[in-house]
Amino acid sequence: MTTDQTRRLSRLVGLFAVAGGTVFGLAMGGAVPSAAVAAQEKEKEKDPDKPSTLPTLMGIGQCVLCHSTQKGATYPPGVALFVKAGSTKFIRLDENLIWSENDLHSRSFQNLTGPLGKAMEREMKRAEPGFKATEDVRCLACHATATGPLVKGQQLTVKHFDSSQGVTCEMCHGHASNWYNPHSKLLANRIDWREWPPGKKTNYNLIDLRDPKVRAAKCAECHIGNLDQGKFVTHDMFAAGHPPLPPLDVIAYFRDQPRHWGFPREMPYLVDLAKSPKTAKTAWDVFHYRSEEDVTVDGKTIRGEVYAARQLAISTLATFRSSIQLIGQVPGASDGGLDFAAFDCYACHHDLVFPSPRQKRGYVGKPGRPSFRPWLSGMTRLMVRHGIGTDRADAKDGLVTRLSALERELAVAFDQKTFGEPEAIRKVCAKIDVWCQEALEVLEGIHYDRDQALRLLKDVIAAGRDEKELIADPESAQLIAWAFLTLREELRVSPPKQDEPAVITGLCGRLDTLVVTRLRADPKAKKKANVPDPLGGENNETPVPIEDRLGERLKLFNRFDVTKFRQTFDELNTQSGLFK
């Protein structure tokens, strides 16, 4: 494996870990609140260890005591103990440094007072003269750190937020008042804590960010939205200047994220745990991780799993589920129906031309009625179609057909009225939610070995060239490109590692000119941060301000050419035999 590959891989793993953490946290946050104390008391009867107090914010000040240690520096005495006991085989200890120097989440609050934030505030004031971004809970819900889990029905005020440092550790990992002590102070039992089952940690509100579905749901709370938590970018906010929320592919985000975590394969503790026949089950049960190399148990060879393939498939489903849950929440906020932000942005936001490619292509449902975002279900269908093609196909072959029927039903619910038919939308979303649960169970049972990952890669390539796929907008194309790049990168680094043929590298380079492939890295801004990435990651440049990133990205986005995109995937398809 080349250094480059290692770096990318490690980035990927890190992203997964972060996302996982985030999701878990969210899930936890969501779980604890409304039924609140009563439910917690009931739980406590079953689990005597379960804390009886609601989780609250410890604050980043507590985390930096350990997680702000530069590698090779002199460790403070407390930390030295951990290091001596092999902690760095599992974590990095410089997490806070990376986050504060390189991670965009640490800039999220500053964005509210930057040039774009100010311009947006000016516009919002037209409708709401008293609007102040730094004090408005609709902004703070995602741009600051909440003092406790955000729950449905809560009347949020500025007092529920700590705005000093943006989105800090506990927004993703879970508010720490209950788990802080067990995870750090039980030094003698620290391995015990580490290997506690995820459900038990969840009771303490530590979010299981290593579980891809938990992680994707956590990220989706802000990056898609969650009205129960007061997180929703309305169309008014977009009109005032909020940047568009790109479609969420957690794994692609991770690829470009400066990692404050290690991919499992970079962490010796996890590699050993998964490799050993005795502990492989623990690695799976606790860390949702299977060895990437073949393991022989009782004379039987279990093929290594391609890590990102599983992460991609499960995250896609979980993201779809979060999006559908949000759509189901929106009409509940008003009888008037959906806010425009719940619709496909590009159904309306395109330049009109004659002859019109949209009219030539045709519409799903009635013309002139904007619908839900087409990217939502496209990748989901692909992942499930791939999934039921495996040996777990047996009883579940109706899944894809049912999804298509539910989609049509949702399209009708969107179509009936200008803002959709609220009751019908709520009903269909509830049905799709049930479908998601079933589909997730199927995908979770699949062993994504190299053959499956290759099949998935080829399915993704086929989707990119398929004339029948409604790649109506660059968002769907982006998701296809991102999924392809994830799998391509992963297949290069997972065993058996191999060098990539130049023709593939060339075609991937062409993709960079057609869609936004790098979410984070700006080739023009290679300002290296003070913190070198000990795991070899390359995306550790200082964050480029949103104002500088957005313009170029949207230019590329707006000049999307579906014909060239399809041609590229056509050529990739011709060369797909090179992926082995």
């Binding site: 008014d236 906020a333 009219q359 002139g368």
Partner: protein, 499 residues
């Protein structure tokens, strides 16, 4: 198609102009109009256009000459499709072209055999004479569409007594006196804007129908439009009257369409076709807020209602007051209420906005229609009496400056909406031409040309689809537009400018 209706109207006017001197009848009848001549006519017996085509009547065979109105209207197919003609004559044929056929398919995707446009009554209302039998419908927007069905006046309209009849008398026989600008333009608007049973909604537009954006003087003065009539030569009075009547009559039709939509509980509400197209149909910007401007009454994230027809309502009322001095100007208070209802969707702090109430909208549209009808009827009567006073070139210059100025507020663009800016531009152009054009106002030519240029949709390279929307309508263009409206407003800059 839009031009078609105007052309037909023109035919009528021309036919009439041929035989009648431009003098008022010796005695005005007591009969006063109590309805608009050109709106809400009952179906009648649609005579084919060919029955008007006798060589001694309107088929003289000499394109452009009096007595050859039908010849001028119809293309000479022996010459070829490019022979100059009135586009109204093509209105039926376009129902067979690729776009129309595809529209039918897109609009009824579930049907194996969707209703073809040439048999679809909704299409035929405006692409032929409403109510015509299939044979006559095939003539397109023929004579009767603009001049009225002729069963009651066909045999008398060439008799000497016809000329002595007043317009109200003629109108009683379902003849539309198109020389009366109110009659003419309000009839144009029934198709070019719509009416209670004529709605080019967003489904139709998304399926391929062009958007409707009617502005009478723009249609009237299209250089390629072959008129089959001649209008009075008094440019100043004529064009300024035509513009202001066009504004009010078109707005009236837009409100009538809205009223029909508000009554319909089965159609999408609010209907997208009633909102500013390019407020939504623009690519997502890079954080620079667009579609705003200094008009703080416009809500965020929501397109303006019928901006094309409402943008210049206030300045048009002022122009109306100056030009029709004996007629009280149109009242716009209810219109203001209506705009508020249609546009103000989000209450402060409300997470998700609400749609406007159909009942409230219905109530207000009745008031607005009554306000606009009152003015139109007064002016229709003034037009009949030809009692409009002459308008001086200086006054028209001032009105043009006021119109340009009303695009601005505190020196900045009041609204960034393309429709808003284009409507102001066209109004200013109408006053400029009416006031004597470059001969009288040499300094206006440059800023007007630059405004026209900046408002023009982007030009595509050969082989590329052509733009049907303003494209990159961002800060650079808006700043130039602001500058040039500013120059026109000041009225003193004759230097030609540099932007």
């Amino acid at each position: 198609m839009r031009t078609a209706v105007c052309l037909m109207l023109g035919i009528v006017v021309a036919g009439w102009a041929v035989g009648s001197p431009d003098l008022p009848p010796a005695t005005l009848p007591a009969l006063q109009p109590n309805k608009l001549y050109g709106v809400g006519l009952p179906h009648g017996d649609v005579t084919p256009a060919t029955s008007c085509a006798a060589a001694s009547c309107h088929g003289g065979g000499q394109t452009g000459r009096p007595g050859s109105e039908l010849t001028t209207w119809a293309p000479d197919l022996s010459v070829g499709p490019n022979d100059p003609h009135d586009p109204h004559s093509r209105a039926y044929r376009v129902l067979f072209n690729q776009v129309s056929v595809r529209m039918a398919r897109l609009l009824e995707p579930d049907k194996e055999k969707p209703c073809p446009p040439h048999l679809n009554q909704l299409c035929l209302k405006c692409h032929s004479v409403d109510g015509a039998n299939p044979q006559v419908a095939a003539e397109g927007v023929g004579c009767a569409a603009c001049h009225g069905t002729s069963e009651e006046w066909l045999t008398i309209h060439y008799q000497p007594s016809w000329k002595s009849k007043s317009n109200p008398e003629k109108a009683k026989s379902k003849f539309i006196p198109t020389k009366n600008l109110v009659a003419r333009v309000s009839n144009c608007a029934t198709c070019h804007v719509g009416g209670k049973d004529r709605d080019v909604n967003h489904d139709l537009i998304a399926a391929g129908h062009p958007r409707l954006a009617f502005e009478y003087t723009r249609f009237h003065y299209q250089p390629t439009y072959q008129k089959h009539w001649k209008d009075p030569d008094d440019t100043a009075t004529y064009e300024s009257r035509a513009w202001v009547i066009g504004q009010v009559a078109s707005l009236r039709a837009a409100v009538e369409v809205l009223q029909a939509r508000a009554k319909n509980s089965n159609a999408p509400w609010p209907e997208f076709a009633g909102y500013s197209c390019y407020a939504c149909h623009q690519t997502v910007g890079n954080g620079e807020p667009r579609g705003s401007g200094t008009d703080t009454s416009k809500p965020l994230g929501w397109p303006g209602w019928e901006v094309w027809y409402t943008a210049t309502a206030v300045p048009a009322a002022l122009v109306a007051q100056k030009i029709f001095r004996d007629v009280p100007p149109p009242q716009l208070d209810h219109l203001k209420d209506l705009r508020y209802l249609m546009e103000r969707r989000t209450e402060p702090g409300q997470a998700v906005p609400k749609a406007p109430s159909q009942t409230d909208v219905l109530n207000v549209t009745e008031h607005v229609l009554s306000d606009l009808d009152r003015w139109l009827l007064d002016v229709q009567q003034a037009e009949d009496k030809r009692s409009t006073s002459p308008v001086s070139s200086e006054l028209l210059g001032q009105l043009g400056r006021d119109l340009a100025g009303s695009a601005l507020h505190d020196g900045k663009l009041r609204n960034h909406d393309w429709d808003f800016l284009a409507a102001h531009y066209l109004g200013t152009v109408a006053m400029y031409h009416a006031g004597g054009g470059t001969a009288k106002y040499p300094g206006w030519q440059d800023p007007l040309q630059k405004l026209g240029c900046d408002l023009h949709f982007p030009r595509s390279c050969e082989g590329e689809p052509r733009f049907n929307s303003p494209g990159a309508f961002g800060t650079t263009k808006l700043n130039k537009i602001q500058y040039n409206f500013g120059r026109l407003k000041s009225g003193f800059d004759t230097s030609g400018g540099s932007q």
